[in-house]
Amino acid sequence: MSTMTREETEALIAEVLEVYPDKAKKDRTKHLAANDVSVEQSKKCITSNRKSLPGVMTIRGCAYAGSKGVVWGPIKDMIHISHGPVGCGQYSRAGRRNYYVGTTGVDTFGTMNFTSDFQEKDIVFGGDKKLAKLIEEIEQLFPLHKGISVQSECPIGLIGDDIESVSKKAAAAIDKPVVPVRCEGFRGVSQSLGHHIANDAIRDWVLDKRDGQPYESTPYDVAIIGDYNIGGDAWATRILLEEMGLRVVAQWSGDGTLAEMMNTPKVKLNLLHCYRSMNYISRHMEEKYGIPYLEYNFFGPTKIIESCRKIAAFFDDTVKEKTEAMIARYQVMMDEIIAKYKPRLQGKKVMLYVGGLRPRHVIGAYEDLGMEVIGTGYEFAHNDDYDRTIKEMGDATLLYDDVTGFELEEFVKRLKPDMVGSGIKEKYIFQKMGIPLRQMHSWDYSGPYHGYDGFAIFARDMDIALSNPTFKNLTPPWKKVAEEEVKKAA
């Protein structure tokens, strides 16, 4: 349970917001809340998916980031053209650590940046011709690619280029799918709309392309949806599912291929990890193909066991038996890890601020290590994410939506967690304050964190961060002030 009472948490929020002008304060109050586990609907206590306030520092991305960076980017055998000026593609290139196997530049293209490099003349006269030429060149230089996606950057929407018609013509010419994605960065309030647009593009241009073709299926076919293979996460997940006796047909989209995606409508069950970015396509497949989807959580043994049993319940007894055998086999390893790390980590407090699924999914893993999550928040969640989060968090813990740089710093100063889990932009701010930070977007160049193998690495990494002697020698600014005052008083 939280160490703070509801009144204290609410007082803290009010105090932090005190510096804002009235209008900003009114707006931001809606995005901050003390968790109330009795609330069924998150919208009663927290507002989400709203435009960020101008003038505050937010860490949100754009629709292009959500589509090219998150959903499409990891599909390894396709070439994703960043259509527009060079920066958007180049500065986000290969930053996400979604691992894949293959020879880059020959049959896989994950870490490469393809861009149409818009110049002034393309803005003035339109870039359609350039795009057509670019696709032609790609076909010549990289003949082993399986398809192309055109990821629009802002200017494409502003000048009104018709990328759909270029794509259709090019697809006919090269006899491979060419998918136009209208994910201009200005659409929506965050990357979340980019996920939606990307999902819709997959639905319209990819998903049904193999319908009716012969396919050798088994009753145990599943697809991993919404696992981007950060540091090998999807592989760690896949091992477990295969041990349960299931056949993983497709990985969406970490280490995934175009063919896998086209075969997904043949599976029996969709396993949905990142609800936020891929619930759209799962809902579509449920309606069109009657494939149910199941949200699962592979962080930490408690949640893994719970999820595996839930998945196994969809299948026959052989799967259930294999699942139980697997759980029992790994339990020994888990007990060892918990015995080793729990005494070192017991009672430590963590604050999280990430996106997608992690602010609620990793809570179980921290609890398995005896740690406590005292505050959590999403960059770009919607109400349905908070509905799910409320149940996972302790009563009266702090929830923050699209938190600003100032607020997060103030909350950390007041709540004094032992560790913060967030991204690279927050990392050095908090480390200079004397609080270790683990990047929960990229696993701080470590990973995987999913599955049993991942939990071993997760536990080790958390211990490395928390037991690092550096932080004992750093005096955070608020303590320094106190010391000086003590000296003055003396």
Binding site: Q41, K43, T47, N49, S192, H196, Y280, R283, E286, E287, G290, H382, N383, D384, D387
Partner: protein
């Protein structure tokens, strides 16, 4: 008019989903719920009301439909 999707909820009730706004809410009441006539006015737990033209009860959920908004949710 907006495209909506009606799903079977985990708790047995119906769930309303509005993709355009990513709005998910459970349906508190449905005006007609018989095999021949299904639909009409939908009351949502977030306070919103929508109207779908009554149809024969769909054999399988989820189903995408066109709906008219009668009353907005309070947010």
């Amino acid at each position: 008019m907006a495209n909506i999707m009606i799903q079977q909820g985990a708790g047995g009730g119906l769930v309303f989903y509005l993709p355009k706004r990513d709005l998910e809410a459970s349906i508190e009441s449905i005006e007609f719920d018989t095999p021949e006539k299904w639909g009409g006015e939908l009351k949502l737990d977030n306070g919103g009301t929508y109207y779908i033209d009554p149809i024969a009860k769909p054999p399988r959920l989820p189903i995408s439909l066109r709906a008219k908004r009668l009353g907005a949710a309070e947010d």
